[in-house]
Symmetry: C2
Subunit: 158 residues, 2 copies
């Protein structure tokens, strides 16, 4: 099973693809979709949709895992993040991937053993767990972390 | 020019298509996309994307006009609405439509002459302006109103 992890954002969307055979989790690909240079917000959403579509066609994941967005106190940023996350969910669904949501706390608990783990801890643990030769960027690491979280969920249940 | 107006919502998305020859604005189609029965939020977003795609293929609009979402004080509902609006924007952009945003106040001002007009006034004026034989539903009327707003914007500028 190949899992596409997505960490959506209106400026940077992280993605990570892992494979699992039921025992181990292996690294396939990761990276970021940068949309911050585009002045028009609608074009940013299209870029998220199109780039994720391309990534899905290339790496052929069968499911997608997306971190639940932390609801902060600013409705304006919640609205923006909602747009970006909506574009990402539609890209995955449109390519027939099942989409699973995971709270950030569960993702951190899974990869770092601690629900309040810092970003750098997540980066470090993702590198270790997937035996990567270099540390992925924060957004790519977050995307890989949610993909790993889904793999573990499938293996060990809740 | 054919204009697709969209009033996005996570349960009901209104749409309306109008045509303008540079002088008059004529009715082409309107309706609603209902997603409230689907329990899974991701499936709702896919339905918005797919149904709008089908409407675009059927009626061949060249631009889309979408009302800016009113930012209320609830970040959770802003996040949900953001998802729905993101799915709608991506559907339009993916089919090569230019997307224009209009504040609700401007839409109401255009169709009802008053930025604080009530929903029923908007419904009534949309029916009158487009010479419809029956009153469209609230969501369809809001979608037609934003399409009319874009047509007037093109004709008379700001």
């Amino acid at each position: 099973m190949r899992i596409l992890g997505i960490d959506p954002g209106s400026r940077i969307t992280g993605y990570g693809v892992v494979a699992t055979n039921g025992h181990d989790v292996g690294f396939i690909a990761c990276g970021t979709i940068r949309t911050g240079d585009e002045t028009d917000f609608s074009h940013r959403l299209l870029t998220i949709f199109r780039d994720l579509s391309e990534i899905i066609r290339t790496h052929r994941p069968t499911v997608a895992a997306i971190e639940d967005i932390f609801i902060n106190h600013n409705p304006r940023s919640a609205l923006k993040l909602g747009h970006a996350r909506g574009a990402a969910v539609v890209a995955a669904m449109h390519h027939n991937l099942d989409v699973f949501d995971y709270p950030a706390r569960q993702v951190k608990q899974t990869v770092a053993g601690y629900g309040q783990a810092e970003k750098r801890q997540v980066q470090h643990m993702v590198r270790t767990l997937l035996q990567l030769s270099s540390t992925p960027s924060q957004d790519a690491a977050d995307a890989l972390a949610v993909a790993i979280c889904h793999a573990h969920q499938r293996l060990y249940g809740r």
